[in-house]
C-alpha cells in the first residue's frame, strides 16, 4: 500500500472516535436527562451571577459531517462529529427558537409520563394549539425536535415521537409481530404491508424469507406496478418503498432486513434525476439532518437503475430538462465527500446532459418491459 493509502485507512479506523450519536433510551432515561437540564438551568438562573444558560446543540450542517468508510465491509455512512452550535435567549433573532426548545421538552416530558407515543403531525397540532406564535408550521416542530435530539443526545423515538409510517413492503417475506398472526407480504395485494412508525414494534418483528434480492423503489406508482404484476414471484424478491424521501421507519426496516439476511443484495430503483440519486444515497449513507441517528441505518444499496446507459432505452420525447431545483440537489450531492466515484460520473452525465427521465418512460416498450429490464440488469450484474 502507498503511504497515503495506509494513512487513509488508519484514519478510517479512528474515525469512530469522532462519532457523535444519539442514544436510544428508555422513557425514564430521557426524563432523567430533561430533569438534569431543568436543574442546571434553574441553578444557573438562581446563582449569585444569574444568567440564562445557552443551549449547546450538535451542529447539523455539512461542515460537521464526516464520512465513515467501512474497512471490512462495503458499508459507508455519514455521521456528525463533536462540533457544536449554541442557541441563546440573548440574541433577538434566536430567542424564539430558544424558547421553542423548552416548550418542546415540556410537551415531550408530558407525553413520556403518559407513556404515549405521538407522530410529528400530532405533535404539531398539540403545539400549534398551545403556542401558535412559536409553532406556526410543521417545519418549526420538526426542526425543534432535531434541536432537542441534538441537545439531549437521545433519539427522536426515545422522546416519544414516532416516525411517520409511509413505507410499504411487498413480496417474499413473512412477518410476525409477537403473539400475532404471521403476515405474508406476497398476499397483501398491490398496496403491500404498511411499515409501522413504531420502531420498537419493528424491532420485535420476526422475519422469514426465501427471496434472493431486495429491491428498494423510489416511487409508489412503480412499487404498485411491480406488486400487481407479482414480479416478486418471478424474481424472488422483497419490494420496499418509502414513497419518496425515506423516512426513519423505512430505513430502519430495511436495515433490519439487511442485518437479518446479510446475503441478500439490495438494489435501488430510482428515477434518472438528482433527486432520485439523493434518495438512493439517503438509504445508503444516512442523512445530515438526522445525522445523530441515521448513521445506524445505512445499508449497502446498489444502484440498479435508471442509470446513464438506460437512457437509450427510452424515447427521446420522455426526456425533460433539469430544473434549477434539480441542479441545486446535484450540486449538493457533488460537494458531498461520501459520493463514490462511479456515482459521481453518473451524476456528471446527468448534469451535462441537462435532462432527466422517469422510470415510467420504460413503459413505452410495453407494460411488462419493466420486469424484463430488472431481470436483465440483475442477471448481468449491471449495478453499481
Amino acid at each position: 500500500m502507498e503511504t497515503t493509502g495506509l494513512f487513509k485507512s488508519s484514519m478510517r479506523f479512528f474515525s469512530d472516535q469522532e462519532l457523535c450519536y444519539a442514544d436510544i433510551l428508555t422513557p425514564q432515561e430521557v426524563l432523567a436527562r430533561i430533569q438534569v437540564a431543568v436543574l442546571n438551568f434553574l441553578r444557573i438562573l438562581s446563582s449569585s451571577t444569574p444568567a440564562i444558560s445557552n443551549l449547546p446543540l450538535i451542529d447539523r450542517s455539512s461542515s460537521n459531517s464526516r464520512v465513515n468508510q467501512g474497512i471490512l465491509t462495503d458499508e459507508s455512512w455519514i455521521f456528525l462529529s463533536h462540533s457544536f452550535c449554541t442557541r441563546s435567549l440573548m440574541r433577538a433573532n434566536a430567542a424564539k427558537a430558544f424558547v421553542r426548545v423548552w416548550k418542546l421538552m415540556e410537551m415531550c416530558s408530558q407525553i413520556l409520563l403518559q407513556e404515549k407515543r405521538v407522530t410529528q403531525r400530532e405533535l404539531f397540532y398539540k403545539l400549534f394549539c398551545d403556542s401558535p406564535a412559536y409553532f406556526p408550521t410543521q417545519l418549526h416542530v420538526n426542526r425543534t425536535i432535531q434541536d432537542v435530539v441534538a441537545l439531549l443526545r437521545c433519539s427522536r423515538f426515545s422522546l416519544g415521537v414516532m416516525a411517520s409510517s409511509r413505507g410499504l413492503v411487498a413480496g417474499r417475506l413473512l412477518l410476525q409481530e409477537p403473539e400475532q398472526e404471521t403476515v405474508d407480504c406476497a398476499a397483501c395485494g398491490t398496496s403491500g404491508y404498511a411499515i409501522s412508525g413504531d420502531l420498537d414494534l419493528l424491532q420485535k418483528l420476526t422475519l422469514k424469507t426465501d427471496a434472493r434480492y431486495v429491491i428498494v423503489i423510489e416511487k409508489h406508482a412503480i412499487f404498485q406496478r411491480l406488486a400487481e404484476d407479482r414480479v416478486f414471484n418471478h424474481i424472488p424478491s422483497i419490494l420496499i418503498t418509502a414513497k419518496g424521501y425515506p423516512d426513519m421507519a423505512t430505513r430502519y426496516f430495511l436495515h433490519r432486513i439487511s442485518k437479518t439476511f446479510p446475503h441478500l443484495p439490495i438494489f435501488g430503483l430510482v428515477d434518472w434525476n438528482p433527486a432520485g440519486l439523493a434518495i438512493l444515497c439517503t438509504f445508503k449513507y444516512g442523512s445530515i439532518g438526522m445525522g445523530l441517528e441515521a448513521y445506524r441505518y445505512a445499508c449497502n444499496v446498489k444502484w440498479l437503475g435508471m442509470r446513464g446507459d438506460d437512457v437509450q432505452l427510452i424515447p427521446q420525447e420522455s426526456l425533460v430538462s433539469l430544473k434549477p431545483r434539480d441542479l441545486q440537489i446535484a450540486k449538493s450531492l457533488m460537494s458531498s465527500e461520501i459520493l463514490q466515484e462511479n456515482y459521481r460520473e453518473e451524476l456528471t452525465l446527468m448534469v451535462e446532459g441537462g435532462q432527466k427521465a422517469e422510470l415510467e418512460a420504460l413503459y413505452h416498450n410495453g407494460f411488462d418491459y419493466l420486469e424484463k429490464y430488472l431481470v436483465k440488469k440483475i442477471i448481468q450484474f449491471n449495478y453499481i
Binding site: Q35, A37, V38, L39, N40, F41, L42, R43, I44, L45, S46, T49, P50, A51, I52, S53, N54, L55, P56, L57, S62, I78, S83, F84, C85, T86, R87, L89, M90, R91, A92, N93, A94, A95, K96, A97, F98, V99, W102, K103, M105, E106, S109, L113, T137, L139, H140, N142, R143, L151, Y245, A275, A278, T282, S287, I288, G289, I329, S332, S336
Partner: protein, 493 residues
C-alpha cells in the same frame, strides 16, 4: 365660552355636536358641509354642522361669546341658524341666534318649525354663512379631525364635505371620513379608546395610512393608560384620562419623526376637542418623577397645539407619545351644558403617573429605573450606538420571559418525581407548599427578567458569555432561527 376666530367657533360647534352624539349612546353621524355660493356678493360659504345625537337645548349656544370687534367683523354677521329635535319631539325646532349680541341680553328668535310627520329621529344642524376661503376652512377641519381620531370616539361616523357649486351638479366627495371600527363598542371605556386612538395616531403620524417604513408592524408599539375622576356637581364629575404609547423605530436616522429627534409631543384634549396647552398642564408634566420610569426631563415647552417634552439621553430610536384628556362626565342623564372644565394640575399629574405605572406593569423590563439609565448614559458618552441597542434588546428579549418561565414551571410541576420537584423549589427559594403553577412561574419569570436586566446593564464589551446548560462542551458559534430562513431542504446530503 369665548372663541377668538371663525375657525375656533366652528371647532367649538363641532365639539358640542360630538358631546351630543356621545350622550345619545347610539350610532351617530356627524357631518360638516361647506357649500360655496359664488353667485352672492361677496361670495359666501355656508357652513353646516349637523349631527344625529341628542337634540340640543338652545342654552348650549347662549353662552358662546364672540369677540366684540376685530377679525370677525368683515367675514361673518354673527348669525347662526339652529335646527334641532329630540326623538320624542313632534317637530323640528328652528332658531336664529346672533352671537355678536351681548350674552346677557341676547335672545334666540324662534322660527317656524318643521313637522316630523311621525318619523322618529333626533339631531341638530347649525348653519352659518361666512366669507372665508373653503380651502382654509377645510384645512382647519382636517387638522381638527385628525386629532379627534386620537380620542377614537366610539361609533360616530364623521365626514367633511365640500360642495363645489361652480359647476352645477358637481360634488366633491368626502375629504375626510372616519370609519366605524366594528370592534369598538360602548362597553369599552373611553380610556381604552384613547389608548387605541393614540396608537393609531402614532402609526399614521399625520397621514391617513399607517407608515410602513417607521412601523413595519404594530408589535413595536406598547401602551398604558390611567384615569382619575373627581365629583364636581351633583350631575357631573371631572374625568382626566392619560395614555402613554412607546415606539421603536427600526431606522432611527431616516424616519418621519425627524432624524435625531426623540422629543415627546403631549397632545391635550378638553371635552372631546383639542385644546391649547395650559399652564396647569405644563406644571403637571414637570412635576412628575420621571426618574422612576428611567426618563430624565430636560424641559417642557408650550407649543400651542401641544406640549413638547425634551429628554436627556433618550435613545434615538425610542419614542414616547402622551395624550391627556379632561372632560365632564354626566353622572345622571342630563343635558350636558357646556361647563367650564378647569384643568386641575394635581389630577393631570396623577392620571399621567397612573398611565406610566400601568405601562410599566404591562411591559416588564421597559422604562427601567434611573440607575440603569445612568449606566446607559455613561456608556453613551463612550459609544454612541450602545444605549440604543440596549433598549431595543430589552424590548425584544424580555417579551419571551413569560412563555419561557411557564414552560420551565410546567417541566417542574408536571413531573411525577417528588425529589426532583423539591430540589427545583429549593433552588428557586420556594417552600414545598408553594408549588402552585402561578407562584413558581412568577418566580422564574422574575429571575429571567432580572438576568436579562443584569445582562443589559453590562457594557457590551464586558458582557460575559452565559454558561452552557451542559458542562464539558465547548461553545463554538451562535445560531439564529433557521425556521425564518428560506427553504427546508430534505435533500440535505
Amino acid at each position: 365660552m369665548e372663541f377668538a376666530s371663525l375657525q375656533d367657533l366652528c371647532l367649538l360647534l363641532i365639539s358640542l355636536a360630538i358631546r351630543r352624539c356621545i350622550c345619545s349612546e347610539r350610532l351617530c353621524r356627524l357631518s360638516v358641509l361647506l357649500q360655496r355660493s359664488p353667485a352672492s356678493d361677496p361670495p359666501l360659504v355656508r357652513i353646516s354642522i349637523s349631527d344625529t345625537g341628542l337634540g340640543s337645548c338652545i342654552e348650549e349656544f347662549q353662552n358662546l361669546k364672540c369677540p366684540v370687534e376685530g377679525i370677525l367683523a368683515e367675514t361673518w354677521n354673527g348669525i347662526v341658524y339652529v335646527r334641532t329635535t329630540n326623538i320624542c319631539d313632534k317637530e323640528i325646532s328652528c332658531y336664529e341666534l346672533n352671537l355678536k349680541e351681548n350674552v346677557t341680553t341676547r335672545k334666540p328668535i324662534l322660527l317656524p318649525s318643521n313637522i316630523k310627520h311621525g318619523v322618529k329621529f333626533s339631531g341638530t344642524e347649525v348653519c352659518l354663512s361666512v366669507s372665508e376661503s373653503v380651502d382654509v376652512l377645510l384645512e382647519e377641519f382636517n387638522c381638527f379631525f385628525q386629532k379627534i381620531l386620537v380620542l377614537k370616539v366610539p361609533n360616530i361616523a364623521m365626514e367633511v364635505m365640500a360642495d363645489g357649486q361652480d359647476v352645477p351638479g358637481s360634488r366633491n366627495d368626502a375629504v375626510f371620513l372616519e370609519k366605524f371600527s366594528p370592534s369598538s363598542s360602548f362597553a369599552a371605556s373611553t380610556l381604552d379608546h384613547l389608548k387605541l386612538g393614540l396608537e393609531s395616531y402614532v402609526l399614521r403620524h399625520g397621514s391617513s395610512l399607517a407608515c410602513d417604513s417607521c412601523f413595519p408592524n404594530r408589535d413595536n408599539l406598547r401602551s398604558g393608560g390611567g384615569m382619575v375622576c373627581e365629583d364636581k356637581h351633583k350631575t357631573t364629575k371631572l374625568v382626566v384620562e392619560a395614555a402613554v404609547v412607546t415606539s421603536e423605530i427600526p431606522n432611527p436616522t431616516n424616519n418621519c419623526f425627524g432624524a435625531g429627534c426623540s422629543d415627546t409631543k403631549v397632545l391635550c384634549f378638553k371635552d372631546f376637542a383639542p385644546c391649547s396647552i395650559s399652564e396647569a398642564l405644563l406644571k403637571a408634566l414637570t412635576g412628575i418623577d420621571w426618574k422612576r420610569y428611567g426618563l430624565a426631563l430636560e424641559c417642557a415647552i408650550d407649543q400651542r397645539s401641544h406640549a413638547l417634552l425634551k429628554w436627556e439621553h433618550m435613545p434615538l430610536s425610542f419614542h414616547i407619545h402622551i395624550v391627556v384628556h379632561c372632560y365632564d362626565k354626566l353622572v345622571f342623564e342630563a343635558m350636558p351644558l357646556l361647563q367650564k372644565t378647569r384643568f386641575d394640575k394635581k389630577l393631570i399629574r396623577k392620571a399621567v403617573k397612573l398611565a406610566l405605572d400601568d405601562f410599566k406593569n404591562k411591559h416588564a423590563g421597559v422604562l427601567l429605573s434611573a440607575d440603569t439609565l445612568k449606566v446607559l448614559a455613561c456608556s453613551r458618552r463612550n459609544q454612541e450606538q450602545l444605549p440604543k441597542l440596549a433598549s431595543i434588546f430589552h424590548l425584544q428579549i424580555s417579551k419571551f420571559a413569560p412563555d419561557l418561565a411557564k414552560s420551565i414551571a410546567g417541566l417542574v410541576l408536571y413531573s411525577s418525581d417528588m425529589d426532583f420537584k423539591e430540589e427545583c423549589l429549593a433552588i428557586l427559594g420556594l417552600q414545598p407548599h408553594q408549588s402552585e403553577g402561578e407562584i413558581v412561574g412568577e418566580n422564574i419569570k422574575k429571575k429571567i427578567i432580572s438576568a436579562i436586566e443584569v445582562n443589559d446593564r453590562r457594557q457590551q464589551g464586558t458582557r460575559e458569555v452565559a454558561p452552557l446548560l451542559f458542562e464539558g462542551r465547548h461553545e463554538l458559534q451562535y445560531v439564529d432561527d433557521e425556521c425564518d430562513e428560506d427553504g427546508f431542504d430534505p435533500m440535505d446530503l
